[in-house]
Structure formats: C-alpha cells, structure tokens
Subunit: 392 residues, 4 copies
Amino acid sequence: MPSLLEQIRPGLDAFSIELPSWGFANTGTRFGKYPQPAAAVTIEEKFADAAQVHALTGATPTLALHAQWDLPGGMEDCAAIQDLARRFGIRPGSINPNLFQDAEYKFGSLCHPDPAVRERARGHIEGCIAIAERLGSRDISLWLADGSNYPGSQNIRQRLRWLEEGLDQLYRRLRPGQRLLIEYKPFEPAFYHTDIADWGMAAYLARHTGPKAQVLVDTGHHYQGQNIEQIVAWLLHLGRLGGFHFNDRRYADDDLTMGSIDPYQVFRIFCELVLDPAAAADVAFMVDQSHNLKGKMEAMVQTVMTAQELYAKALLLDREALAEFQAAARIVEAEECLRAAFWTDVRPALAEWRQARGLPGDPLQALRAGGYVERCARERGGRGAAGGGYAG
Amino acid sequence: MPSLLEQIRPGLDAFSIELPSWGFANTGTRFGKYPQPAAAVTIEEKFADAAQVHALTGATPTLALHAQWDLPGGMEDCAAIQDLARRFGIRPGSINPNLFQDAEYKFGSLCHPDPAVRERARGHIEGCIAIAERLGSRDISLWLADGSNYPGSQNIRQRLRWLEEGLDQLYRRLRPGQRLLIEYKPFEPAFYHTDIADWGMAAYLARHTGPKAQVLVDTGHHYQGQNIEQIVAWLLHLGRLGGFHFNDRRYADDDLTMGSIDPYQVFRIFCELVLDPAAAADVAFMVDQSHNLKGKMEAMVQTVMTAQELYAKALLLDREALAEFQAAARIVEAEECLRAAFWTDVRPALAEWRQARGLPGDPLQALRAGGYVERCARERGGRGAAGGGYAG
Amino acid sequence: MPSLLEQIRPGLDAFSIELPSWGFANTGTRFGKYPQPAAAVTIEEKFADAAQVHALTGATPTLALHAQWDLPGGMEDCAAIQDLARRFGIRPGSINPNLFQDAEYKFGSLCHPDPAVRERARGHIEGCIAIAERLGSRDISLWLADGSNYPGSQNIRQRLRWLEEGLDQLYRRLRPGQRLLIEYKPFEPAFYHTDIADWGMAAYLARHTGPKAQVLVDTGHHYQGQNIEQIVAWLLHLGRLGGFHFNDRRYADDDLTMGSIDPYQVFRIFCELVLDPAAAADVAFMVDQSHNLKGKMEAMVQTVMTAQELYAKALLLDREALAEFQAAARIVEAEECLRAAFWTDVRPALAEWRQARGLPGDPLQALRAGGYVERCARERGGRGAAGGGYAG
Amino acid sequence: MPSLLEQIRPGLDAFSIELPSWGFANTGTRFGKYPQPAAAVTIEEKFADAAQVHALTGATPTLALHAQWDLPGGMEDCAAIQDLARRFGIRPGSINPNLFQDAEYKFGSLCHPDPAVRERARGHIEGCIAIAERLGSRDISLWLADGSNYPGSQNIRQRLRWLEEGLDQLYRRLRPGQRLLIEYKPFEPAFYHTDIADWGMAAYLARHTGPKAQVLVDTGHHYQGQNIEQIVAWLLHLGRLGGFHFNDRRYADDDLTMGSIDPYQVFRIFCELVLDPAAAADVAFMVDQSHNLKGKMEAMVQTVMTAQELYAKALLLDREALAEFQAAARIVEAEECLRAAFWTDVRPALAEWRQARGLPGDPLQALRAGGYVERCARERGGRGAAGGGYAG
C-alpha cells in the first residue's frame, strides 16, 4: 500500500491556487477600514507579496489582476506588469473588470437602462480582453454588481435581454484560448434583485453565449443552507465549471479565509473534483478574500496551507470503495469513506512534500520567523491608506 | 377613466386556480395530525368540497388529482372520476404521481441506484400520463422526493445522468397537448441533497428534455431571502414557466395559505405575469397547501379570495408609467407604481364582480352561513382518519 | 360608527418618528458609493433637510445625532447644535456613540482585550451621556460593532464579562430621565461572532444592568425567518422595549426603506404596540436607513408616509373582536381581523388628516413640486464627498 | 509531554452520552416512513438496543424515555422499566413529556387559550415529574410544540403569561435534585410563531422560574447562520446550560447524525465546555436524532463514536496558549490553536482507549461483524410498524 505522501504527491504537485492582488491591499467593511502598515499599495508591492507566498508554499504561481486598481492605464500598463512578472517569477492570472465603482454604474453596467452606459461597460470589458491577450492570461472573471434595491424600480426581464446581448457581443471578442468566467451572487451590493443571482442564471447565460463562457463559483455567494458541492457536480456535468473564488462565511459574503468556518464543505467540493479528474482539468482555483482583521500575509499563507490540506484529504478518498457502497445504497459505509479521508491528518505528509521541494515544512511559521511582514511595515508604513480595494 | 371594476374584470374573468384533492383530506406534520370531522376521505367527498368552493368563488373549475391516493386502481378508476367530474361540474386537473411513499423509494425513484426501482418509477409516471390522457388533463406535475441525507452516501452526478435518461424516456410517452411540469425543492424529505434542488436544475432538465417539459414553481420551495419573482421573470423569458404551486411559509416549506405571511411577494409574482400576458398565457395556477389547523373549507375559500385580490391588484398596475420610470431610472416613482396598485382596496370591486356573476359577495361569510362544513362533519365524522395525505 | 379618519386621528396625532442625521449624507456599500449633489454635508444641512421633511409630513420633530460625525468637538459643539435646533424647529434626538470607526476598535470597544481600549470606549460613551444631558436628549443608542471574525480568535465568555462591567459603569453615569438603548445585531461588521448578537443577549444585559437600560430593535438585525413581532411582544412583556430602528431588507442588514420589502411585517409589529398602548407608551420610533440609490429626501419622505400608513392600518384593528376570536381559537376569523385592517386603504384618510393640519396631502408630490432637492443640489453640489457616513 | 491518549483519557473516562428510546423505533418524515425490520417496537427492545450500543462503546449508560410511548401506563409502568434497567444495565435517563400528539393540543399545551387544556398539560408534566422521581431520573426535558400558524390567530403576549404561570406551578412540584430542562425551537410543528422560539426566551423563562430550571440546547433548533457556541458560552455564564440534544442539519431541524454536516461546529461547542469544566460539570449530553434512512443501530454507534472523537479533539486544546494569544489579539495564532486540535487524528488513541477498557477498537465494525442487527431483523421483523415515534 502506498504511503500517504505517495497517495497525495501527484495531485499536490499539480495543485496551484491563484492569489488576488487586492488581497494584499487595505480593505474594509462599509463601517470603516483598519489600515495595516505592511499592506501593499503599489502593484509592485502586490507582486512582491505574492512572490513571498509562493516562495513559502510553492503553490501560487499566478496573481489575479484588477483592471481598475492594477492597470489604471489599461494597455499602457501591460509592459510594466510584464516586467514585474519576470522579476518576481509570478505570472499574471485572471483579469478582473470593475463595473461597480464609478458613479455611471449606479443602476447597472451591462444591464443599465441607458444604452450609453451599457456601451461603456462593454468597452471596459473589451479592454480587459485585450489586456488578457497581451499578458497571456486565459481568463476574464466577470462579476457584475448589477441589480436593483427596490421592487419595481427596474425591469428584470428587459435587463436580462440586455445581458444576453452584451455577453453575445463580448463573446465575439474573445481571443483563442480565452475564457469568460461568469460569476453569480445573490445579494450585495444590490439588495432587492441581482441580475445574475445564482448558479442557474450564470449557467443559462454561459450556455446561451457559447462554450468559452464558463461559470465562476464564489463559495461565499450562495443562499444559506445551499449545497455547493451539488452545484459543482452539476456544472461539471454540464461542462461549465470554469473556476472558483474561494473564501468562507457564516452569514453572507463575509470573505473570510477558506475553510475557516466550514472546512468539511470545502473538502466535499474538492471530492467532487477528485471524483472526475478529466472534467475538472481546466477548473481554475482562485482565492477571493478580504482580510480586515488578520494580517494579510499571514492570512494568505494560512489560506494556501488550508487549501492544500483539504485538497490532500480529498485525494485520499477511496473512490472504488465509495462507488461500490453508493451503488448498493450502503449509505453509512459510503459516508465513512468520506470521513475516513477527512479525518486523516495530512499535515505531516504535507510537511514532507514541502521539504522535498526545498520549501519550509511550516510556511506560516517560516513567514513569522522570516521578518518579511515587519520589513514591509517599516518600508511601506506611514504612507496614506490609498491603493484601491473594497470600501476604498 | 375606467372604474376599478372595469380595469380588473377581463383579467378576473380569465383567472382560475386549481385546487388540490389532498387539500381537503386530513394531513399533519411529522409530529402528528389533528383529524377534522368534516375532512374529505373519499374521492367523491373531495369533488364535493371542490364544487362547493367553486360555487362560492366561481374560480376553481378543476381539481388536481393524486395518482396513489385518488386513483389507487389506476386506469380502472378513471370512469368513476369522470362520473364525479360530470356530477359536480369540476374537471380533473393536473395528475400527480407519487414517488415517495412506498418503501422501494427509500433511496430515490428516477435517481435510485437500483435500475429496477428506476424502471418501476418510470412505469408509474407512464401510468399517470395514460390517466391524464383518459381524463383530458393537460399537465403531469412531477415532484421527485429523490435525494440523500448524508455527504457521500450517494453519487450526485451519476444520479443526474439517470434523471436525464428517465426524463428522456418519459418525454417520448407524452401525448399531444400534454406537458410535463418539473418541480424543484431545496430540502425535505431529503435533507442533505435533493436531486432537483432549485429552479436552475429544473430549467436545465426542462431544456434538456424538450419543449413540453416545463418548470413548476412551488412558492414554498426556495431558500430564505430568494427573489421568487425574478425566477418567474427568467422562466417566462426562457419560455419554461409551466405553472405554480401556491402556498406561503415563514421558514421552510410550511404549506401555509397563500399570501398569509408575505402578500407583497405574491403580488410581485403576479405583476411579472401581468407585465407579459402573452408569455404567461399557459401558466397554470395551482394551490398546494396542507391545513393542519385551519378548517379545510375555510382555508380553501380564503386562499381563493386572497389569490383573486392579489391578482386584481396586479391588474391595476400602470404599466406604461412603470416602463417610463424604469427606463429613466426614476426609481422611487417606479416603485410607487407597484405600491399604488398594491395599496388599492380591491375588495369592494371584487364583491361587485362576484355579485354580477351571481356569486356571494363575501364567499367566506357565505361558507359560514351556509352550514356546509357542519353538514359534512355530521355526515363524515366518526369514520377513521384514513384517506391518504401527507403524514398519513 | 366613527369614520376612518376619526378612528386613526388620535393615534396619528401622537405618532412621531425620529430621522437620522446620517440618512441625509452620502453613504455607500463596501463596493463604493455614489455621491448625490443634494446630499447634506454639514450638520446645518442635515437640520435643514430634517426640517423640510417635518414641514411636509408633520411627523418628524427630532433628529438623531451621531457623536463623531455631528459633534466632532463633543461638548464644544452643543451650543451650535442648540442654535440649529431653534432655528430649524427640530429638537436633538437620540445620541449615537461611534465605537467602530477608529483603528483602536479593530478588535472591539467595551469588549476589547486591552483594558485601555475598553476605558477609552467607556469614556466616549460617557461623553455622549453628557452631550445628551446638555441637549435634552433622553436616549443614548448604543450599538457595539464588537465581535470577531474567526473561531477561537477571541474569548467569548471573557468578553461578556467585560461587557457587563462596562455597562454597569456607564449605567451609573446616566442622568435622571435618560435611557441607555442596547442594540443587537447578528452579523456585520464582525462575521464570526458579534458580542451582542440577538434580542436575548440585549435583554439579558438590560435586565442585568438596570431599569433604565432598554433594548433597541433594529428591524434589519435579525436572522432570516425570525419572527420580529414576537420579539416585540416579549420585550413589551419584560418592560424592556426602548425603541426601534426601522428599515427593511431582503437578505442581511440592507438598510432599505421601511416596509419596502415586507410591509405586512411592519404592520404586525405596529399591531403588537397598538394592542398594549400602556406598555408601548415610551417606545421610540427611529429610522435607520442608508439610501445608496434613492434620492435621500425622496426616500425619507416616502419612509415617513409608509410608517404613517402602516401605523394607521394597525390603529384600525378591531381589538375586541380579535381577542374574542383568539380566545375561542377561531383562527381564521382572528387572522381576518388583521387582514381587514391591513387591506383598508388609509391613504385618503391620511391625506385628509394632513390637510386638516395645513400639510400637503401628498408630501412626496409636494417635495417634487417644491424644488427643494434641486435647490440643494445647486447650492451643495460640487463640493467634495466628505461628510461622515457609512463606507465614508 | 503526555501522549495523546494520556491527554484525552481523563476527559473521555468521564464522557457519557444519553441515547433516546425513540431513536431505535421506526420514524419518518411527513411524507411517509420506511420501516426497518430490525427497528425496536417494545420498550424491552429499546433497552436491548441501548445496551448493545453501550456494550460496543462503553459510553451510553442511560436511556432517555418518552412518557407517552414508553410509559403509556404512567406510574404503573415504572416497575417494569426498573426491571429492564437492571436486566440490561442501562439506567433510565431524562423523562420526556409529550404535549403535541393528542388532538387537544392542536392550539397549544401550557399556552392553550382553554384553561382546561393548560391544566391537562400541567397534569401530564407533573406525572412525568413523579415518574422521574420513581425512576431516579434527574431531568425532565420539556419541549413545547406550542405556537401558531398564522399572524393574529393567537395572542402572543397572553400565551407568554400562561407559560410563566404554568412553569411556576410545575417548578413547585420538582423534587430535590430534579431539574426542568426548557427546550426552544424556532419553527415546526408551528410555522408562524413558536411560544419558546429561541435561547433568549428559554433563558428568560428559566431565570424567571428558578435555579432548577435550565435550558436545553438542541443543536438543530437554530436559525441558519446562528452561532451556537456563543449561545453555549452565554448559558454557561448565566449558569443555565442544562444539557444538549445533539443532531445535525443542513436546513431546518433535520435530525441527522451529530457532526455529519458540520463537525467543526460540534467541536467548537465542545471547546466552550472544555474551557470551563466547572461550569460545564452538570451539562447533560443527549442524542436526539431520527434516522429515516440509516440503519438505526449503525447510526447510533456512529453517533457515539463521532461524539467521542470530537470531544477528544476539544480535550487537546492548548488552553494556556489560546488564552495568551486571545489576550494579545494575535488572532491567527489563536485560531490555529483550535485548528491544531481539530486536525489531530484522535482515532488511533480512541481505539487504544477502548481496547484498554475491553471494548472493540472499532465499534461500528464490531456491530457489523457481530450480527446483532440481522438477529433483530429476524426476530422483530414481520410485525406491524407500530411502536410510537415521530410521524407515527
């Protein structure tokens, strides 16, 4: 029988997770924000932070970029980004349009009743597609904040028609190899209706639009009690699971660190992927978190370690036994297959895997010992709290 | 300017709502049931009760039938049903298979891991299709209780494949003019995963299966905080809104009388229908309630009156003004269009409409004055509490 | 039988509702804010806006003040506030401490593990008590944003002990006639645990602290599906209902205009108050809303009108009939008492009531016709978006 | 440093969990039930099943009894129960009144508007107190199904007064050493309002009634997203945590096996207890589950093993380090204390602990190997499905 390490090594070798540039910057809630002296402000600092996480974990080779905050100059900024990518050994990841910050988007972007605003929104996304091509990024992550706050204030069906039109036009601009990831979210910042509110709406739009349109599952964007792993299973079946934005929550979209509230749920999501490696081959793993209280570097390293641990547990699943028990409706035994994998302590095997790759066995400990955060605080501290981010 | 009555008359004349045979029988919760002496037991009594509601309201010409409880003999029972229909002037409505009561369905019906059970489930539904043809019913309302109670205990994706296969086979049996209404429900009686959990799953299956497969929206089958009128708007856009099961709830699928907890939500659903009469032309309005505490006849009459009132309010919507305000993002004025209609007291106009049709102006009052329930209690009381129903 | 107007007049005459100064300033979500040119920035402008709402509705004689945003100079600013109050004919209402905006409060205020921060928080609230005395305000509205984001990160029981201590000390500072209103909120801005999460915690603390400590019910601060009117009934029974912060929501604490999502719920809350006028005599009605999309003046006038309409409906309740039906468990008839009141169109009687007092019959129409907002936009527009508020 | 086993042994030795007699009988949902041939029907069979679980796990020395189902003859049945207790080596545990099954309780028990029903309910509970005295049971577990289904149908405040009166009277009947455990539940079987809906109501009633009145926390009886461990911490602080009914759920009160959906939550609850052993000394651990699909014996053994595992993990918590990190707001390190304990694989140490006590190392495996269930199926099968239980 293979050792624990042997069982998880191939899967772990192939497992990487994308960090968000905005996860290193100061953020907050609508009630205020608590600036951290070590927080990144410039795009260079964000690359430096991502590189540090990658140096400690070996699992984060790419950095998601935010069009407005990281490339305010659009195509003009691409050369500088490419320089940073080379310098820090971190590739540009998904490109994220911003269709919610400017006052024009008050009543929507692709669904705004004013055709000029819809046109402007399309133009912005087309710019992101061009940036993605230039930077070699595969994915454009499309989150629309569109919606309304009050019954009757907007025409839901008309907005859906505009949405279809807008996506159709954008789809034609996609370059070969590119994908449009459509995100859904049931509430916030719109409080009565959100134009793409759930996985069913996103999946319909992806299927309506074309095969390169895929669904982006943000784990925090679900109704309470919703079974996320079932949605994952359905999207895999439909061939429409483009990727994840990982985070955790107790109530709404709390953007807490992945697995911090319900680790068993993340494990079950990974199990669905592990059960069908072919269907899951192109699924992008991305983090989308907003650390208001935790140190940003600490939180990021902790997140990557948690992702690796929960993924490693899923890799331990005895899939043959599971299939046999499920087919025979031996339900307790089937359930125990999941639990046996979940309760196995993979931390020692992970430390071994890391050491074999020249990485610290305990990246969080190594981060604390290395003094990186203190150094950043000294060098970056004292500046203004500007720098683009939620509740900015 | 037309009077209130003139504004609502055409819509009201065309508005009818289907009652469920099981709504007249004794039911309960899992904690027990409280039999009512006047409750219907035989199918004849259920027709009699439905006819009485129709006599009082003029709006309930059809009765939904439950295959197992109302036609235990299958095709053999159709002649008797047709006799009752003629005698009571109530047409047979939708036919409802039962795929949850027998022990064989413990682990599912169309999604059961055992092919023999899947076969048996298909056979039962095919029987319902034949019954529907014989009785002249257009709709087969398909609610699957399929699901699982524990993570890992069943293979979600495999069950989805079986579901697609089963629906494909059933679809081929549909007679001309028939429709298969696919219901969704996020939880209960399965507690971990439900094979058709939300509108997105039902809509995908309907589109996968064919144009005569439509979605059935039970207002109680949603996550808390979900925007049901948006789902209605999307299904209308997709051409997949087959009909409604109306009821209300505070927490889960509480099967309370329609509009009793949140009448504004029902009104908003009706508004979506009124805004596009062509798309809504074939939408079936059905009641699916379980009255544990209220008198069954009282509750039914109250439900029909509430449905008429809320529908009449929706008919008052100033659609032109609404469209104009929405297009200009004059959001408070747009919202006030809805509120103006909602707050109008339509009860006097409804009483007038009823009286013009020879109906009592206040059907609930007329029910109490008429002594029907007391008569039933005398005639039906004292028998056993048998008779088929939830928590039977 | 008395006319509708006669039935509601005494209640309406006595009904007033307090507006929040921050409801006139620019606010937003964590994703950004959309400044309105007419929004108030200075405290003078906030008084002017409140006075305009009062001129139109006759129901908003007081203005809730926010310590940090409206009185940054503390006691120094009181004289200026008193001038404004006299000039605009609007009295200072409840005083609201701010214990969430400064970086010191990152891990809590009265529950912070550092005694120096707890001390500072107490000092700030004591300052508010002094301000309230000076301004003649009865109520200090205490909302603590205290909590934690991750399991284990803070000691819940220890923080509760600090909370008791802090409240005990503050209580001793209350002047005669003053009240400490303790607010609860289940989530946001803390996402894992909130130190005063629900009504049970607030009520325990109020009872622990003393009779002048009362509970403040913000209608948006509840779990989904929670029965708020029951909480109101219990607090009345316990003699601990200090007041309300009114707003509405679909999912979380969305701060939408009162009654915009579920008007029947607000009506039911008012019914509980109307059923026991003696117990409800000192209950404060306050608005706590954040209008990101609606025009601020429009939203405020709409809110006051909605509050009056729903309160007037509650005043129509036939309390004797209701009590009789409830005692006899004639549940449909009892329910119909509520519905009869709710469905009565009180708008004409309200217009009459207004006109009799020299107010415009339709305040929202009058606001639009009067040009106030346009004038403010001209005079106030073009300034920066500063001015204190959520997501400021 | 002590071994894992040494760290958990004292705690585990003292850890026992009470099984419910109704957990061995056939149960179901309101949609039907699936009888199991091995299910217990007689009280003797329930004792036998509990004894078998205890033989396998060594942790279930008591059996909760249900007044109506297990002692239909009241005091008359006590002698037989005592015989069974001696014969099977299982002591009678908490006594559970039944105030929901009979038609008289349709509109409530202690809160019913009819004084005769309230009187009858009190009489039944007094009978349970007497039975408890006779059987040497400490706890009477009081769950009231009281509530209403529709707004206005009952008077919430009046019912609260009756509830206080009833509890006051019952309290005077308690024998020395007895406790009245007051359970709360937000919904089901009443759907609009539940007379004891949340922990705050139960805690108020317990404090109102007297020190021997304590709160019973059923883990499934909470709003979605509610922080149960915080409630536990508060009840410990108030000295009012009487005990638990353990089970798990995804949506409502699903009565799934403990820890099957969210094991981290159960662990966090145990952590609160472990953090203050003195306050938790008298807390009763009870299971309240309803296994519709799982084999009843399998599910019970699995539940006990899960409870032991999660409790053992809590025992590993480094409380000193945790306190230090919490005091310094080193929140990631504090959180990691919890995670370090949670992720430790305690299964080998538990197997060792069992073997040292002469128990099978893997009780679930031993159950399957031992043939007990098959034997019961042979001996008990073929009888009717009678036997008392939910959805009976």
